[in-house]
């Protein structure tokens, strides 16, 4: 009998088959409904933005990996693509190509690779990119073309760029409320916000229902847990309800705050970013409440009409602390008699 040698590896010898890139692509998949709605609403323009942001995110990731002497093929692991895709979804549909590319650069190089790449970045890269652009280019980043449906998309074929600059612009619902709530409030219907076919806004944030579909998919697949989205949305809802009861003419009803702006995409897809969110359940709940609180404070009393990006980035800074102070007691330590 001949002697066989066997491969040696450490236990366990089986695996559930999950992988980082599968997770990332799943999140990207969950964002697709929102992307489809945006293409319906903004036409080829949104395809342009999403393609450029995603493509250049992957490109910069490969570049950075090369410069860091890593395997550049890791740029296809889905994390860069997800960052780029998320960034694209937070931009207004009319922004110019240069701005998109700069956003991808900041997101991947400045916010992620400079800190050590995947798993090491303290702040959400896509949001860092977006906030950088918002501060750098306030005018283009707050110019919102009106969504004009599929008919317009047909017209855009062939001469998308010239049409883009001529697009009709308008205020986002949140900006309109911020300027003069009394005049604007009666004109905005919640169902428009919910389905998102008529309201101006960022590419990915207009349709609440599409985002909810994606968010529920993530919850069902257990890719994210309920703690962050539920606590963030609930906080916004409760505070919006209180202010609405105090002065209904000035403060919109809670559902308005839920479906307008980027609360849903932020709470489900950005605040839950693994790398930058706390990992323990209690920390996640505190994190979510913080995000909700800061969002609604900025919306109601801050200088900007929308505050979810800032809220998430600020809370990202608290993640290490939350991780440290919310560790649940390990198995059996409750039984342990403490000598004191």
């Amino acid at each position: 009998m001949e002697t066989r040698t066997f491969k040696v590896s450490y236990s366990p010898h089986i695996h559930n088959g999950s992988s980082t890139s599968k997770l990332m692509w799943n999140v990207t998949l969950a964002l697709l409904p929102a992307a489809v709605i945006s293409v319906y609403a903004f036409g080829l323009n949104s395809v342009r933005v999403l393609f450029l942001s995603t493509f250049f995110a992957i490109f910069f990731e490969a570049l950075a990996l090369l410069m860091r002497n890593r395997n550049w093929k890791q740029c296809f692991d889905g994390s860069a693509a997800l960052t780029g895709f998320l960034l694209g979804l937070t931009l207004p549909p009319g922004v110019s190509n240069g701005i998109i590319i700069l956003g991808s650069f900041v997101a991947i190089i400045v916010a992620k690779q400079v800190f050590g790449g995947l798993g090491s970045n303290p702040f959400n890269p896509a949001l860092t990119g977006r906030v950088f652009l918002l501060i750098a280019f306030p005018v283009p980043m707050t110019t919102w073309p009106l969504p004009r449906g599929i008919e317009q998309a047909k017209q855009f074929m062939g001469l998308a760029t010239t049409k883009v600059t001529d697009a009709v612009t308008a205020a986002t619902p949140l900006a309109a409320i911020k300027e003069h709530a009394e005049k604007a409030l009666p004109n905005i219907s919640t169902s428009d916000l919910f389905f998102g076919l008529h309201t101006p806004g960022s590419i990915g944030e207009i349709s609440a229902i599409a985002l909810l579909v994606g968010g529920i998919y993530l919850l069902v697949r257990k890719i994210i847990t309920w703690h962050i989205p539920v606590s963030a949305i609930l906080t916004v809802f409760v505070i919006a309800m209180i202010t609405h009861f105090i002065n209904p003419a000035k403060y919109p009803h809670p559902f308005f705050h839920l479906f307008a702006g980027g609360l849903i995409i932020g709470a489900f897809f950005m605040a839950t970013d693994y790398v930058t969110a706390p990992i323990w359940p209690m920390g996640k709940i505190i994190f979510g409440i913080g995000v909700g609180l800061l969002t609604i404070i900025i919306r109601l009393w801050g200088g900007y009409p929308e505050g979810i990006s800032f809220a998430i980035l600020i809370m990202n800074a608290t993640t290490p602390l939350l991780d440290k102070y919310t560790v649940p007691s390990p198995f059996g330590s409750k039984t342990m008699r403490r000598p004191s």
Partner: protein, 245 residues
């Protein structure tokens, strides 16, 4: 003990020398610093009225009680500084204080506006100091035209700076208040118009470049008006049009 005395002595000598040096420095620069402060205002007047080389100066009081200098130029034209705190009812600027030099002639027409001090966001609100914005006020009176930013009131005459509505609104309101102040109280403070023999019609020479600027702005505004405000087709569009961005 000897050490302590040594220390005290050393520090005293050094402080005394420093005080002496500062006194000399202060004397050397005092006049120049005072001149600079005046020069700044005078230069702004000169920009509005290029041939008002030697204006008559008069101390006047603003509605909020501060004392400012009015520069009275030939032709009964007055330049005076006006800040965002000089009158009540001016909306707060985005950050800090805005101070401007405004030139008004006896018919109550704005001849020019110069921003002397401001601390608005660079690149956004700071654009209020650029000619393309302030030259919009040239020729405006209280009676004709609606002194409001278009974003707040579609019939307004002033094109706000995009992304800096708050700053534009503050300046527009300042001009309005300055005109009101001119009418209600400034004229009485500076006394009746002097009749000078040399005074006939003084032609204000607008430098060629500014002329060109103004022409361009007018052109641009015409184009913008076309694009920005389409005919609304529903109540919602009406709302959106009035909205901010």
């Amino acid at each position: 003990m000897k050490n302590v005395i040594h220390m005290i002595l050393t520090l005293s000598i050094i402080s005394a020398l420093a005080a002496a040096a500062l006194a000399i420095g202060n004397r050397a620069t005092k006049d120049a610093i005072a001149a600079q402060a005046k020069l700044k205002a005078a230069r702004a007047v000169l920009k509005i009225y290029p041939n008002c080389k030697k204006p008559e100066e008069k101390q006047i009081k603003t509605p909020s009680g501060e004392t400012i200098t009015a520069y009275i130029c030939p032709g009964n034209r007055v330049g005076f500084t006006f800040s965002s705190k000089s009158a009540k009812g001016i909306p707060r600027p985005y950050s800090g204080l805005i101070k401007m030099m405004i030139g008004i002639d006896k018919s109550g027409t704005v001849n020019g506006v110069q921003i002397i001090e401001q601390s608005e966001t660079p690149g956004l609100g700071a654009k209020i100091a650029e000619p393309s914005f302030v030259n919009q006020f040239v020729g405006i009176t209280l009676e004709k035209g609606n002194l409001k930013v278009k974003k707040d009131d579609p019939s307004g005459m002033i094109d706000g700076i995009s992304g800096a509505t708050i700053s534009s609104r503050a300046v527009t309101s300042m001009v309005k208040k300055a005109l009101e102040f001119y009418k209600t109280s400034l004229i009485s403070q500076i006394g009746p118009p002097k009749k000078l023999s040399s005074e006939k019609k003084e032609i204000i020479k607008v430098p060629g470049k500014i002329k060109k600027d103004i022409r361009n702005i007018i052109k641009q505004n015409k184009r913008k008006r076309k694009q920005r405000y389409p005919v609304p087709d529903s109540a919602k569009d009406q709302m959106i049009k009035e909205g901010v961005r």
